[in-house]
């Protein structure tokens, strides 16, 4: 097993390289370029199960759920080696890999952990997150989707929106309102919902870049959820949700940042090889190295987020800074690429949905708003920094 070398970094690298050379089909990139979204999702499932055959996708999980509690440097090595060969990304698994275990670890029952965590590892179960609603985005605490207790079930009615990968998901982490008295925060509960329960209607939303299956609206009509699917206590949901959201700002960012860094370096190499015209343009060249430099700063921050998480520093403001800086840098990189690519970037060509940086700068550029908007918008992060880090008063 590759992870037997988790404490010997150079052996780990070598083992990963050998495994990737054997396992990742040489032609996967061409094969998946221009593939349908359905095929791309299936490919993600297949690739996820390959990774899991070596325990690579869940290596950061604690040992009792089959992970190896991988250290930060070793985790970085995995990400770097995947980045070097531009291996497929598995965005559909983000909730399953990060949000779910963080939430259950702290608030789940032993039965919930045993039931749901091994299934992610063994069966590649995809989860989605039903937090946002049409009337509750940044102001999430105003959510209205209602759950009413009826015997040993909750009956859920309402509407969620922007649920990523909802159509491929088997379960959902759902926030519902269980009380309308007292403060808004004190009336929210946290449920696990099976997506095939009668009364759930998933309607895909077409994304700005044309993608049809990336997120969806989800309607709930008299959906019966067993009481044992409650995470934590009734009306404790808001507190639990903070843990879920914190998981969003951990190693996921590190993985992306390492991908971008690798791509930035490759871009220079390729430009030099092909004698690209932007290299003759001093201004574009200086902008490019500036991005490279900033990338190093963002990586330092992303690593800090992960090590602070490990130390349990929950009140740190590093995640808020990292969220803004990372997403803005991605946007700057793609904006630079789109400008530099000239008219070609504005023309249609077949897409590959499974890499962080595609051959489509304009489409990557458009998709970079996913990062500045989701996971708490950058404006909300600025509010946090101003109030909590700089100590400025509330209006």
């Amino acid at each position: 097993m590759i992870l037997d070398y988790k404490d010997d970094f150079s052996a780990l690298r070598t083992a990963l390289q050998a495994w990737l050379a054997d396992t990742l089909p040489n032609d996967w990139f061409e094969h998946m370029t221009g593939a349908t979204e359905e095929d791309s999702l299936q490919f993600q499932r297949d690739w996820f199960s390959s990774l899991e055959s070596e325990g690579l996708a869940t290596a950061h999980w604690p040992e009792r759920w089959g992970g190896v509690n991988l250290s930060l440097p070793a985790q970085s090595i995995i990400y770097e080696e995947l980045a070097k060969v531009n291996a497929p990304m598995t965005p559909a698994y983000v909730i399953s890999l990060y949000h779910l275990p963080a939430t259950l670890a702290e608030f789940g029952t032993p039965e919930q952990r045993d039931r749901y965590l091994p299934a992610v590892r063994n069966e590649g179960v995809i989860w989605c997150q039903g937090f946002s609603e049409p009337g509750a985005g940044s102001d999430l605490v105003s959510l209205k989707t209602q759950a009413v207790r009826d015997g040993d079930h909750y009956v859920v009615n309402g509407q969620k929106v922007w649920s990523s990968y909802a159509h491929g998901a088997k379960h959902c982490l759902l926030l519902v309102r269980t009380s309308n008295t007292g403060s808004k925060h004190a009336g929210i509960s946290y449920l696990i919902v099976d997506m095939d329960t009668p009364g759930i209607d998933v309607r895909p939303i077409v994304q700005a870049d044309g993608a049809r299956l990336d997120f969806a609206e989800v309607f709930y009509e008299d959906v019966r959820v067993p009481v044992e699917n409650l995470i934590g206590e009734e009306n404790q949901g808001w507190q639990i949700a903070q843990t879920t959201l914190a998981a969003e700002r951990g190693v996921i960012i590190l993985e992306k940042a390492l991908r971008w860094r690798m791509q930035l370096r490759t871009m220079l190499y390729e430009a030099k090889e092909s004698n690209a015209c932007w290299l003759q343009d001093a201004q574009l060249g200086r902008e490019y190295v500036r991005l490279m430099g900033k990338m190093e700063g963002v990586l330092t921050l992303a690593r800090r987020v992960v090590s602070e998480n490990e130390l349990g520093e929950l009140r740190s403001m590093t995640p808020a800074y990292t969220k803004i800086l990372c997403s803005e840098l991605a946007q700057e990189i793609h904006s630079w690429r789109a400008r530099t690519a000239g008219i070609e970037a504005q023309c249609v060509s077949p897409k590959n949905h499974l890499v962080e940086i595609t051959n489509h700068p304009m489409s990557d550029y458009l998709r970079s708003w996913a990062l500045t908007i989701s996971g708490g918008t950058n404006e909300i992060m600025r509010n946090l920094i101003a109030r909590r880090d700089l100590g400025m008063p509330k209006n």
């Binding site: 200086r286 190093e296 963002v298 600025r382 101003a386 700089l390």
Partner: protein, 363 residues
Amino acid sequence: MLDIKEEFRDSIASVLKAECDNLSLRAHVDGENDLDLSLWQHATQLGWLSVMIKEEFDGLGQDFSMIPVFHREFGHYLAPGDFISIHTFIAMLQAINDADFSKQYLPELAAGHIKPLVPVTDDHIALELKNGLLQGISGPLLGPAGASIAAVRATAENGDPTIAIVNTKTPGCAIKAMPVLDQTRRRLCTAACSEEQPLIVLQDDLFTRANSALHTSARLATASDSIGVGYRALQSTVAYLSERQQFGQPIAAFQAIQHRCANIAKNLKLAECQLAAALAQLINGDDDNEAWIALAKAECDEASTQAAAESIQLHGGVGFTWEYDCHFFLHRTRLNEQLFGSPNNLRGEALESFTSDFRPTSQ
């Protein structure tokens, strides 16, 4: 390692807090005290000058990671003094590693007996070496006009760039002060040389090593000074905004104002992390570490200039007065931007360095 750094920081901060408060800094600017000299005194007693000097020459033998610790504190307190130049000069001497020269000068430098000048631009055109003698005027140098030794850039007879070290007290060398707007550090000079015999001329490999140490040390120091000033500007601004009331509330409660402050904070954070990353690359001996430091310095200078510039606007009318410190912040960061490479030049230099690595394969 962490402990030594923390101790070093505490030692510097406690001296600066006691000696370099706003009143004494302003008195210094008005020519009413010798704050710079009294800080120099402390520096010699507390080992601040010798921190990077090897132990065999009476130093503390620390690596480059002390430079940011030191200069960030100096930036924070807007402290005057000749510390960027002395740390840089020492780094350069250690890089050339000439036994006699080191033996003669390092202990003297460690003890604070001599002050050096170092070149702040890469310009070497107006000073030439002819038959081993210097003729012409140097580019701008950082340090006091009374300095006794100077590193100057000069063109060799074959057109190569060199660094020459001269004794400024000889008849062939005249140091002239260049008044600068930054009142917290009035220390730029030029050297006019006439048939001046240098103490040593650094060419070829020696030049490369000296130049690299000069860039590394000076840029780390200046970038850290900028970060110190930038955070100080942000801190003063937030304090003022929280006190000042308009429309019946502290202006710090306006979201437009909060987001501007958050932008300053996040740009400083990025620059600071970039500098830390570049330092780590230097300590690890990674490829291209000079280029990473160059890029980090550019970012630090720009982020702190933004902090300083915004501090004026966000203070309103009082930000435009001599009485408030905003102009000190801006003058100091703008001067830093021009020392040892402007952001534009540094980025050009980094691009050059990254692309030249690929040259063999592309031809």
